[in-house]
């Protein structure tokens, strides 16, 4: 059988950096071919070359055996290639129908009624249920993804590229997505599935190609005789052991107590409703939940960035309700924020300056308001060494560093303050395996030293691996707290989807 898509010897350079180095890759009709690789391995670049966003420097692309020059996304769409991006390309202020027909209409008049009817029919045909009249801003993440897929199919795509499609879904939604993909496969759609989640890939893919540092390092056809460890090693290029050593440890005193806490977001809408939770010293509590269920608001409530509108927050028994972020920091709350570029770092300031965002006014770094150059330099040097922050110098802007090293700046400066409570939000998002390991080690070290830790993550695997207890958040409410040893993926998944009852969490 001839491949529908064949990529031959593609090379793409950005300056001196080779993002794709002579990559060859093929896709057969009705196949799900996964592309596995770490962040920065070159997956996105390759897909952007196929989707016509970048031109390749070398190499050819064949569609159904014929060589093609894909000049733009528009051209890719015309050739039947569709892409579902990790960050959905939807316009929240538009309706589903408007989003789907965007860019498709040649004629000037916009007949939205007619479009809606056609979309309803397509949604029926592919069994992707969405309401064409609904505003996208009112849809759940899972529904938005259905709109994205429908958008691509509606344009007649025969080749579907999915970039990290499961990152934002609950386990149940993932199952549903996989069922959809299987159906599409039967209809003859060929799918490229990009991910870094090993288990998932093994369950959905027909073949897996592994990408490392811009090169294809292997293509595995025989998935039955393959294990996650082997895949991970191929992906990283060295032996890795999945899972971390987490010694048993008795939890100490209660450090954080949330007592029916309610929090409103910036738009004054109540997001967190009567949330109660306790975290003890030397304990990691994982907060599981689908993105956008109030994690950000809860974290901002716990760190004083948003005021509590009801209930109370106590830290080591002291009522912190209504206190400022500064007072929370002084009370021993460390915060590794979810978006390191927006909340964690001042990218244009130097690495050195970023290491002192919280502590600059303290002695010995400042005396009588004057900055003490020497003390700052020495401290920065020692932090850089201890946390292995790789930068050309301490004077370069933080924005010039890799994601992993940026995260080390944040982790380093927060842990250096000896927090009593550490709130770590997506601490490994977008990091490669090496940096992820490092951050996990830091968290466990803090745990060993008696720090209470709230770990917020959408990666269920990470939560299950590190946590002593798992709390699940759904639409701003606490669905329940489960001990690590009693937790199952399915049970947590049900709670994440809003199915109540402690039975759910432990049901297998």
């Amino acid at each position: 059988m001839e491949p529908v898509l064949r990529v031959h010897n593609i090379t793409k350079r950005f300056g001196s950096n080779v993002a794709n180095d002579h990559i060859s890759f093929d896709l057969y009709p009705g196949e799900i071919h996964a592309l596995l690789g770490e962040n920065g391995a070159g997956k996105s670049t390759l897909m952007n070359v196929i989707y016509g966003v970048y031109g390749a420097d070398e190499g050819e692309i064949y569609l159904n055996g014929k060589p093609v020059e894909i000049s733009s996304p528009k051209h890719a769409i015309e050739l039947g290639i569709g892409m579902v991006h990790q960050h959905f390309m939807l316009i929240p202020a538009f309706t589903v129908a408007e989003n789907i027909v965007l860019g498709m209409q040649k004629e000037l008049r916009l007949d939205i009624k007619d479009a809606e009817a056609k979309i309803a029919a397509a949604s029926e045909k592919y069994d992707l249920r969405v309401d064409p009249h609904a505003l996208v801003s009112t849809l759940s993440v899972g529904e938005q993804q259905r709109v994205e897929i429908l958008k691509v199919l509606f344009r007649g795509a025969k080749i579907l590229i999915l970039d990290e499609p499961t990152a934002v879904l609950t386990p149940q939604e993932i199952t549903e997505l996989f069922a959809t993909l299987e159906r599409l496969k039967k209809d003859g759609v060929s799918i490229v599935f990009i991910s870094h989640k090993l288990n998932e890939l093994m369950s959905i893919s027909d073949r897996i190609s592994i990408l490392r540092r811009g090169k294809i390092t292997g293509c595995i056809d025989d998935l039955a005789n393959c294990n996650p460890e082997a895949l991970a090693s191929a992906m990283v290029g060295r032996q890795v052991t999945l899972g971390v050593e987490k010694p048993e440890q008795e939890a100490g005193e209660v450090v954080l107590e949330l007592d029916h806490l309610s929090v409103c977001n910036e738009a004054k809408k109540e997001i967190i409703k009567e949330f109660s939770l306790q975290i003890r010293a030397g304990e990691i509590v994982g907060l599981a939940g689908v993105d956008g269920n109030g994690q950000s608001e809860l974290v901002k409530g716990i760190t004083g960035l948003l005021p509590a509108t009801g209930g109370a927050i106590r830290i080591q028994g002291v009522d912190m309700t209504g206190k400022t972020p500064r007072e929370f920091i002084d009370a021993g709350v460390g915060h590794i924020p979810e978006d390191r570029h927006k909340q964690g770092l001042v990218l244009s300031m130097s690495v050195k300056e970023n290491l002192f965002l919280e502590t600059i006014q303290d002695r010995p770094y400042t005396k009588r308001h004057l900055l003490q150059k020497k003390a700052i330099q020495e401290k920065a040097k020692s932090l850089q060494e201890f946390y292995d922050i790789r930068a050309a110098s301490l004077e370069v802007p933080a924005g010039a560093l890799s994601g992993g090293n940026q995260q080390k700046i944040i982790v380093g400066r927060i842990l250096e303050q000896d927090p009593k409570l550490l709130v770590a939000v997506h601490p490994t998002r977008g990091l490669d395996i090496g940096a992820t390991e490092f951050v996990h080690k830091c968290l466990l070290k803090a745990r060993a030293e008696g720090c209470a830790i709230l770990l917020v993550s959408t990666e269920l695997d990470e939560i299950l691996e590190l946590s002593d207890q798992i709390a699940v958040i759904y639409e701003g409410e606490c669905m329940g707290v489960v001990r690590d040893r009693d937790a199952t993926k399915e049970g947590i998944g049900l709670l994440m989807a809003g199915v109540k009852g402690t039975q759910a969490a432990t049901a297998s």
Binding site: K74, M89, L90, G103, Q105, G399, A400
Partner: protein, 324 residues
């Protein structure tokens, strides 16, 4: 009593529409640009260019309609510069607007001195007369208010209707709005975001050219330094106040026009210093923004330059004045 009488005369309403015309034209232009995702605080400079070049064209060609044409060309020049700076070079759009407004002030007042000297002030150019629409203009009250205006006022109304249809009833309008909401989404849908934004900003220039022409060529028929005197900012406020919709912006412009008309009439009735009347349009606009606005949300991607190659070597290399 005398004060209330103002509202009973058709004269007041007729003046409202006349004074609202430049604001309305510029505000509609602003809506186009901002809906496509380019902040447009340079309306002021564009109106000034339109006003001067309209006057110049009408004077040189002794034809008011050629004047309207040159007004549009003059303001188009500034709009093109704005598009280049905002879309191509991707500078901070607020600050570059300050530069553009200053440049417009320099170009117009310098050329005015060069061409007309400093003493021969009141060199008059042909202007346009009011156009009475047959039959309708004879209606009592409504006739003089709505159907005996100068042609650019009718143009403003027609453009309002056309713009509204374009934005909400056509595919190109949908694409323009998408460019201002999420340009990346539009780009992956295969539509050229850069092209849309360029066209939108240039169209804004044409609208502002008309706005400028409506200042100089409808009775004043001459020019003086900084003639636009902040109308561009009031028009911008109308865009915000009208929540970025053509109808809203037009209504806001009419409201501000009414304020101006009222001010002119109150001068003859009340013994309040002249300066307070001069201040009134700006104060009304200010308070309208502050008290009735709430936290207005504009197009989501307004003022954010579109970068195709997103994510690569960003932020750190970005200069201090770069994007937001």
């Amino acid at each position: 009593m005398e004060f209330l009488n103002i509202f009973l005369t058709p004269d007041f309403y007729s003046a409202t529409f006349r004074l609202a015309t430049p604001l309305m034209l510029a505000a509609l232009g602003g809506v186009i640009s901002e809906r496509s995702g380019v902040l447009n605080m340079a309306l002021e400079g564009q109106i000034l260019m339109g006003a001067f070049f309209g006057y110049l064209g009408s004077y040189l060609f002794q034809n008011v309609w050629l004047g309207v044409l040159t007004a549009m060309v003059g303001s188009l020049f500034l709009a093109a510069l704005h598009a280049f700076m905002s879309i191509k070079v991707k500078v901070n759009q607020v600050v570059s607007a300050v530069g553009l407004n200053t440049l417009a002030l320099g170009i117009t007042s310098t050329l005015f001195r060069f061409l007309f000297g400093t003493d021969s002030q009141m060199a008059s150019c042909p202007g346009m007369a009011n156009l009475d629409i047959p039959v309708l203009s004879d209606l009592p009250f409504v006739g003089p208010v709505l159907f005996s205006q100068h042609p650019l006022t009718y143009a403003a109304v027609v453009l309002l209707i056309l713009l509204n249809l374009f934005l909400f009833r056509t595919s190109r309008g949908l694409e323009l709005r998408a460019a201002g909401e999420n340009p990346q989404a539009l780009d992956v849908a295969g539509v050229d975001v850069i092209r849309i934004r360029w066209l939108a900003v240039l169209t804004t220039g044409l609208f502002c050219g008309l706005a400028g022409a409506s200042l100089t060529l409808t009775g004043l028929n001459t020019f003086y330094d900084n003639l636009s005197s902040g109308r561009g900012f009031i028009a911008y406020a109308a865009v915000v106040f009208g929540k970025w919709t053509p109808v809203g912006a037009a209504l806001a412009a009419i409201l501000f026009g009414a304020g101006d008309a009222l001010q002119l009439r109150m001068q003859t009735i009340f013994d309040i210093p002249y300066y307070f009347y001069m201040m009134m349009p700006y104060l009304i606009t200010f308070f309208a923004l502050v008290f009735f606005m709430g936290a207005a949300k504009g197009p989501a991607a307004n003022s954010i330059p579109f970068e195709k190659d997103k994510g690569r070597r960003r932020s750190a290399r970005r200069s201090r004045m770069g994007g937001n």
